[in-house]
């Protein structure tokens, strides 16, 4: 922490007091009270109200959302907490996201609630129509088996537990037990949900074996791909800026989770220190999707009449965060074979841009739209979603190593074989943090193992888990672009760092308006020996065109 100020933090794992460095920039996650207050802030400014009236919108029909503004240099920063408001017309629809008052950006001081600056470059852009934008089922269902757009509605089969009842238990409200698994599950204001102390029972000895000490979503990065005045700053960090857990709303029984799910509340702290409850924020259920866990049939050619098949039943812990328009569905799925799958689903509503165009025949050839014309006066803007998870692995204890198994072509020697080539696996144990950075390459495939070198299988291989990053994409932004520096944890798909209490959040501890000097990219520049380690990996990237 090279001369920086720091606070002391008790490192409970190591059992000693360790200094926790404070980064040179950035502010804490916004509270919900702040976000609510910021929705109203622009309306106290007469100039703002005049602008709205000039756009032909009644003030009563306007909803403004607080949009984190990233960090684009000290001239924008001014040493204070700032936010930009994006406003919409709510007239005629619950889906105001489809009715942007385009080009209007209101800069607000977060501490005083005062409007600092108004930018309006959208005077010529109509507000898209409200017609057919309401997504609510109650407004849409007809009696003839179709919705009001004519689409057939389907009846959902139900997922009933076995006659003996569900196969999982939740003890003390947090400890989940199922099929040999045991783990602690809790809601978290920033990470959403946290799985900790996940252990599995060894069937041979009956002993509990450690797998994960702590696992959670560590940061999200959502850069939009439009460099113009009203859009360039839209490069969200949904966990560190908005609170991935703060935005997780109550789950809807039967629709968000199946009939026999059990629910868990979140308890968070308001700006004034009072606790409040977010009901039904997490659900837990046994899942049977009609899938097969394992099967084998013998071919009749062997004369053996064998048809073995086991249905696949898993346990799911779920939450859904609604960060303004977008809904992220996060599932932690536990399998009976020891596999843990983290799955992120994207749902909700696009953040769209208003445009004068109502048909593609109005668009000039090669005109840069920054997206696709989805409807009259509505563009879906190109953007990415990166979700990074931090896994503090403890495979059979804390003494773990990170192994990269490279798969590369090996040419045969002349005369060695009728084959010219084959694939050869080479193991490499990471020795430093830098050495353990993984930037995936499609034609240089590799596997990634977290092993315990001190524990061996019966035939002498180290015990371990394989880490499989599903996000086979990387950010293409200029590494020196301000948002990419803040989201530098997306430069690689996997990072491995030794345990450090101050390195829990991939984008840094204080993300709001941070410059990006406290991310995984900075930490892993050091040449620290990687023994006890945490693994950060990106699970998903999506492009919407």
């Amino acid at each position: 922490f090279q001369g920086e100020s720091h606070v002391l933090a008790l490192d409970l794992t190591a059992g000693k007091v360790a200094p926790l460095p404070v980064p040179a920039s950035g502010y804490p996650t916004m509270t919900m009270d702040e976000q609510t207050a910021l929705c109203a802030a622009p309306f106290s400014d007469p100039a703002f109200n005049a602008t709205i009236r000039r756009r032909g919108v009644r003030l009563d029909d306007v909803a403004c959302l607080p949009i984190s503004l990233g960090w684009y240099g000290p001239e924008e920063d001014g040493g204070r907490r700032l936010i930009k408001s994006q406003c919409y017309s709510t007239e005629g629809t619950a889906n105001f996201y489809m009715r942007p008052i385009e080009g209007l950006t209101v800069l607000v001081d977060m501490d005083t609630g005062k409007v600092v600056h108004i930018s309006d470059r959208g005077a010529g852009i109509p507000i898209p129509a409200a017609k057919n934008t309401d997504y609510r089922g109650a407004a849409n269902d007809d009696d003839d088996g179709t919705d009001r757009f004519g689409y057939q509605t389907v009846r959902a089969p139900s997922m009933e537990p076995a006659p003996e009842g569900p196969g999982f238990q939740i003890e003390d409200g947090h400890t989940v037990r199922w099929a040999g698994w045991e783990f602690h599950l809790k809601a978290d204001a920033r990470a959403g949900l946290i799985v900790s102390r996940a252990t599995v029972q060894d069937p041979a000895t009956g002993a509990r074996r450690e797998v994960i000490y702590k696992g959670m979503a560590s940061e999200l990065f959502v850069p939009y791909m439009d460099p113009t005045e009203a859009w360039y700053f839209k490069t969200y960090m949904d966990a560190g800026e908005y609170g991935f857990g703060l935005q997780a709303m109550p789950l809807v029984p039967l629709n968000d989770c199946p009939r026999h799910a059990r629910y868990m509340d979140g308890v968070f702290v308001a700006a004034d220190g009072r606790p409040y409850v977010r009901e039904n924020m997490i659900c837990v259920f046994e899942r049977y999707a009609g899938d097969i866990a394992w099967r084998h049939s013998e071919s009749p050619i062997t004369g053996m009449d064998i048809r073995e098949s086991r249905p696949k039943v898993t346990l799911v812990a779920r939450m859904a965060a609604s960060v303004a328009n977008y809904d992220y569905i996060v599932d932690w799925e536990f399998q009976t074979d020891g596999l843990i799958r983290i799955k992120v689903g994207l749902s909700g509503i696009l953040m769209v841009k208003g445009t004068p165009y109502s048909h593609m025949n109005q668009v000039r050839r090669n005109e840069e739209m920054h997206g696709t014309l989805l409807s009259e006066n509505v563009i879906g803007v190109i953007h990415d979603h990166y979700v990074t998870f931090r896994l503090d692995m403890d495979v059979d204890g804390a003494d773990n190593s990170f192994v990269r198994v490279d798969m590369a072509r090996q040419d045969t020697a002349p005369g060695e074989s009728p084959r010219r080539s084959y694939l050869k696996a080479t193991r490499h144990v990471a020795s430093t943090e830098k050495d353990a950075r993984v930037r995936l390459k499609l034609y240089e495939p590799a596997e990634f193992h977290v092993i315990n070198p001190t524990k061996k299988t019966r035939v002498g291989n180290p015990v371990g888990y394989k880490v499989v990053p599903a996000g086979t994409a990387g950010s293409l932004l200029d590494p020196e672009d301000p948002p990419q520096k803040r989201g530098a944890f997306t430069n690689n798909q996997i990072w491995v760092t030794p345990y450090n209490k101050s390195e829990e959040w991939a984008g840094g501890l204080f993300v709001y308006q941070s410059k990006g000097e406290d991310t995984l990219a900075t930490w892993s520049e050091r040449y620290v020996c990687v023994s006890t380690k945490t693994v950060d990996f990106m699970v998903r990237k999506m492009l919407a065109v």
Copy 2:
């Protein structure tokens, strides 16, 4: 067909008689009768029997499997149909795959059934023990909620249809209707299952709109990565050599498919021309996995109390092919939002290699094992699975084009924006087959659209489907390696070719012992204009280390 012999084939789609070229090499798919006869063939050879006895195995305890031998030059070929037998000890286990008589390869003439050559280089390699290899549930289940290895067994929740009953119908045994979808479904000896004439109802007009004319698994390529005498030739083409449908066994109700699935038989032809029935080869069911089709909740900051969520219900058509040890589970899943997902699951048993080693401490440093020591005397050999699907797309009719949408970094001009860069999408319509080859690049991402340029949406975009290849890997073998020439359809992840009756199978019409001169790689060398087109794409690759 440059001077080659050819047969005539009626091209039903175009309604005219077209010549069908016959490739210069290769034989048809083996029949089941042949495969059965080949299991017994080695035992008629006294030298083979003597070899088995020398290995200390009773002839009654031996099972031999017919292993397609690829093509490795004319000296191996000899102008006749050949196969190599791999034998196992069945003593003490139903899982003979775990008991290879390693190093013993028996070359058999497929037409005469006579042994041509015996190679035995495995005299020093013990046959792995039978203990704990039986996978059958009946042999394993204990009464205390665990199996005989001590693993907890889980009770499966059941998936019950809605009280009104299942939401799909099957008419005339083949026409499936569900939620606006209609398609024809049938079993095929080579492809496994074929989906054809898939249409979806337009909710606005009630008209049926075409999506896919015909879709099917076109070829599989499974190269093992061991160049030694008993393994180098193990480079299977599971569809063209063995028959992906011929190997699809009856599905096990409740375990392979949920309670209320409906089943469809396959009808195939035996070597003597008689038809036979493969019962319950395909199942169709409505699937509810506890997932969410779409959701949105409003944050309390907007003051709007909205929590909308729709459960995700899909329709699945499934088959499971057991190509000797491996079981492939193929799902075609239809969604209410128009998406079709093709999913391949790998199950069954590894093809393993015998070894003298029973512990890793016996292995020399850097010794090439070609895999992992899984158990005493058992190596799991590194291999790939490539599954290629052919989609004859008819999006709103046959007049379709293939569009590549490249996503690339665009740097901003100085002073244009506080942002230095953004992602820009550029559309490129393929004009030739060569132009339409797609070799995925991780840091040059793209989307792939099949559009109908003559049909536009309300705002003037062409209607289309997005093709999303899930197999983000490519073969690393030397392109001139004989198996890679035969499996050259894995050189790219997507190929697009105009409709041609003789180009239905990615690895060629006659694959057995083919040299690889009749694959997608050859066809797409031509500069044919791509208008009506078929899309071939690889869905999955897996590496087992």
